[in-house]
């Protein structure tokens, strides 16, 4: 069977205990992004930013299943992806604030990040075929490594997703498509933008699919690890779909969902669950991360503006 639902540890079950490192990473991302929204409200940021509040556990769960040889393609909602890989809140915040030490010198901003084998862009769906090319290269030259792409449910409207899946399966490349299915795209509920299911769309191309209902980091790892390993070992593309919830706005202050919807969405927050079940560990780490982010913010805010070598580069005429 190519598709299956992975239910154990579903959203309603109490979470299992995380080691400090995992919980800390979750909280780092949460406080990093809450802080971004605050900075926006305070007029300290411009442009746009998309927070993954509520979805942080997806990249955190996957972080230990990925390694440095893997390429990761992130999208507009990428802070969690980046922080899970590099634990570099200062570099990312500097990027978003355009300060010295920015990972991309302030050029890319929230949506366009590149570091080692991590790359994000703001054009939905564009990364999938690119990741197929990368996966093909890895299969030939670095067997065992994979290319992972994070996409939202709404991005499955784009034709390039299907062009990519087709080639990925035809050429049997180690492609891991991580779908953060939060039932919404900007302001549009999934019911208005997606016919059928992601499971069936993977099956359409003979691509394996797993749907994960759980938000329990430990449980998720246990459930998906074998499938991810198969991507590496057997060069079998995999679509890994997470049923998740976007608790924050699409970008800033643009949430048009009803209070009722928002209440139901907030009730499913992992933050509350861990807080409730593991109060001591939670309180200790929560404070530590909150303070760390405060410190980093003061530090980054005080830095000089980022400098960019190529700020007026021109095409080097020759």
């Amino acid at each position: 069977m190519l598709t299956s639902e992975l239910r154990p540890g579903g959203r309603e079950t109490a979470p299992t205990r995380l080691d400090d490192d995992d919980l800390e990473l979750l909280l780092l991302i949460r406080h990093f992004e809450r802080n971004l929204l605050d900075l926006f409200s305070a007029g300290k940021l411009n442009g746009t930013t998309h927070t993954c509040i509520g979805q942080e556990y997806v990249p955190v769960a996957l972080a230990r299943l990925l390694d440095d040889r893997d390429y990761v393609f992130s999208n507009h909602r990428g802070h969690g992806h980046y922080l899970s890989r590099f634990r570099d809140p200062a570099g990312l915040l500097a990027e978003i604030m355009g300060r010295d030490g920015a990972v991309c010198h302030g050029v890319g901003g929230s949506q366009h990040i590149f570091r080692e084998r991590f790359l994000s862009t703001g054009v939905q769906g564009e990364s999938l075929p690119v990741a197929v090319g990368v996966a093909l290269h890895l299969k030939r030259h670095e067997p065992g490594a994979l290319a992972a792409v994070f996409v939202g449910d709404g991005t499955w409207g784009e034709g390039s997703v299907y062009e990519a899946l087709n080639m990925a399966r035809l050429w049997q490349v180690p492609l891991l498509v991580v779908v953060e299915h939060n039932e919404i795209a900007q302001s549009t509920p999934t019911t208005l933008q997606m016919a059928g299911t992601i499971a069936a769309r993977a099956a359409a191309f003979g691509v394996e699919h797993r749907r994960v209902e759980s938000a329990d980091v430990n449980a998720i790892r246990g459930l998906v690890a074998p499938a991810v390993e198969r991507v590496r070992q057997a060069n079998r593309p995999l679509v890994l779909e997470f049923a998740t919830t976007r608790i924050g706005p699409h970008s800033k202050g643009d949430d048009t969902r009803t209070e009722e919807e928002l209440r139901s969405v907030r009730a499913r927050d992992w933050y509350l669950a861990y807080q409730k079940v593991f109060p001591d560990q939670f309180a200790r780490l929560d404070t530590r991360q909150r303070e760390a982010i405060e410190r980093i913010t003061r530090d980054v805010d005080a830095r000089t503006p980022s400098r960019w070598e190529g700020s007026c580069p021109g095409q080097s005429e020759s």
Binding site: N46, T48, G106, H112, G122, V123, E158, S306, S311, G314
Partner: protein, 337 residues
Amino acid sequence: MPRSERIVENLNAALHRLFAEDELVYLIGEDLLDPYGGAFKVAKGLSSKYPDRVLTTPLSESGFVGVANGLALCGNKVVTEIMFGDFALLSFDQLCNFAAKSVTMYGSRLPLRLVVRCPVGGHRGYGPTHSQSVQKHFIGVPNLWLYEMTPLHDNGAVFAEMLAREEPCVFFEDKTLYGQRRWVDGDDDVFRFDFLGERGQYGRATPEDVDRPDCVVIATGGTAPLALEAARRLFLESEIACHVLVPYRLYPFDIDPISSLLERADHIVVVEESVAGGTWGAEVAQHIYGRLWDRLNDRIRLVHSAPSIIPTAPHLERQVLVQSESVYATVREAIRD
């Protein structure tokens, strides 16, 4: 400048009028439904009043422009919203190889009433994939007309013209204009506003009583405020008199309404936000050289953004994008040379 409606209000009202007057009008694009009303709120209120004719789509820029083409093929009048003009590149095939070609490639005229709206331009910190001025890429496709929103023209009239054309049009909307107020009701402290051409094709700002300008500055709708600011400084500081001309149609470029004015000008500057290379400005220059070769006192000068992607951080973005200072400096340089 007298208090007037914001440009986004004027645009929104234009769409409301279109919908009210004609049952054949559709709007199609992403996130259009109320209360959201589109990423830049241009669609506000439409889906509530006309739920059947506002189609909110999946993320499918190529697909929904195709759907728009199909609706237009059946005789409807279709307005399409691409959330960011940068993504219009995803619909290039539908626009160029279907919409524009269909008008003539079947040997007899096939009318298609279609306007593809593209918010463009930077200054908002949206970064390299959400800030481009993509006008240049669409120039020179037979039967594809390019328009741009301006602070002078009423969008209702422009939309009426585009749809009456019965050929596909792309309408560029500089994002910085949405929140600005229209230049209407005659004058501000320095400039008089009027229109040139039978249908008012060119909005014009002139310092009072200057008929023979030192410089004519032709600017796209999006860069018009920058050009005006530069012109104001030049006049107040040094009595350099610029006429700022702002066309609502970019392509085909229509030189007739302004050619006698251009003849009288000592210098001509063309302003656009795009980086150089195959731009609208070069197209405009080409037309002027061709028509007025014998009468030109000076070469035509183009003002562009720096040849670069558009960075996200505001201090970097500022270094790259055209600013009022670039216009100012270019006019000064022209006069000094």
